[in-house]
Symmetry: C2
DNA sequence: CGACCATTTGATATGGATCAAGCGATGTGG
DNA sequence: CCACATCGCTTGATCCATATCAAATGGTCG
């Protein structure tokens, strides 16, 4: 990925933030620079050195890996306000791409790390971020042993929690993205959604717009 | 779980370790107390407050959760030298049990945490532990979208890396444990192993003893 | 030896994958 | 403004990997 813009922008803003900082998230506002990405634009690649940490401002991001057989496994989706690309080792584990048109804030990983060395609260915030990612990965594991219906229902409920205060969810990702996250085919995801719609558990005013009509029924599917 | 023994033993040893400590793992030796567990003995339960952190001395441990439909998903296996039960929140995410007869070292979580507050190296070691758990959880996700053959082959190779320097692996866990880790049934695990044996990829001198005869073939399955 | 439990093996069923076609929205050129 | 191409999504038909149900085998411990 080409990263010339944030590099220089960050270098300029770094001297302005030497004091201890109560909140890691402030670091993004004070030290970060902003960049805009087009649909499907790569942010970083698997095995690349982890030079930056990112926070979604608007849009959405997917992390993924391509398996030997060509299938793509999506590790996670990141929505506005969420931080991604943080590694304790020097290498990214997964690749990251913007889903639609997306804006992210970027800070140098080395800056975040040295901040953490000076400030225990920041160190703890970083650890907490990794712990949250672990928690989500564990949930993801549990998702993958469920039936297609359960996976899709779980996914919609999770997206609803993360995106919308209301029962109408505007999904930022395609059916293929959902399929690759849930370990299903696009056909199965589509069929399952149609089925949930026919049971009136959800409404489908359009492909990307989902209405959760019966959360109880959706929840009932899950273990 | 009954925890009276470590509690008192730990209280006695705590005052002996106030100085900064180069390595988190030393904490287990200096501050920890040891406990012996019988087969299938519970170490902690899901949602229980995380009062201790554990390190396997001998034997093996599984963490797991029971889904609503009664199925058990094993999150991870822990082998001698490995640390488990560390949470950044106050609650355990998964339950933990000894697999066979197992010895663990135990230290109070609060002691580890306060050590981390004083010593940045310890804090980083704890974070690193969570990061490693995350890495494994991500590998686990990728495992679960593979075929039965691929899952079993992956599992055996991983166990070999972690248990044995040689090609003969003595598995500490049952077929049911393996099945619940891989998201398969016990029958499928058994059949798959028989099939790998018939292809001479592995040898099966006994159910728990696996000989990796052809690592290349096993690796070739994986993506 | 005999009981018990873990594992293996066999027969059948089924959920989701695969292959294939149809549909609907969006955009482009005539 | 409409014909038509494109792309993402849905729907249909069939196949296959793994689950399920059932029974046999083997190893361990009294």
């Amino acid at each position: 990925m080409l990263m010339q813009t944030p590099r220089s922008a960050f270098a300029a803003s770094q001297p302005a933030a030497p004091a201890p900082m109560a909140d890691l998230f402030d670091a993004f506002n004070l030290m970060g620079s902003q960049m805009t990405l087009g649909p499907n634009e790569e942010i970083f690649g698997e095995k690349e050195p982890a030079e930056y940490v990112y926070k979604v401002v608007s849009g959405a991001v997917r992390t993924y890996t391509i398996l030997k057989d060509g299938r793509r496994q999506i590790g996670a989706f990141y929505l506005p306000g969420e931080i991604f690309g943080l590694e304790i080792d020097n290498e990214h584990q997964l690749s990251a791409e913007a889903i639609g048109s997306t804006v992210v804030r970027v800070v140098r990983r080395s800056a975040v790390m040295s901040l953490a060395e000076r400030d225990g609260e920041v160190a703890r915030a970083l650890w907490s971020l990794t712990a949250r990612a672990l928690y989500r990965a564990q949930e993801h594991v549990m998702l993958l042993i469920k039936s297609a219906q359960q996976r899709v229902a779980c996914f919609l409920l999770e997206m609803s929690d993360r995106i919308a205060a209301t029962d109408t969810v505007e999904l930022p990702m395609s059916r293929q993205d959902i399929a690759d996250y849930l370990g299903l085919t696009i056909e199965t995801v589509s069929r399952t959604m149609s089925q949930l719609a026919s049971e009136s558990s959800i409404g489908l005013p359009s492909a990307r717009r989902i209405v959760l009509r019966n959360r109880r029924a959706l929840n009932a599917l899950n273990a």
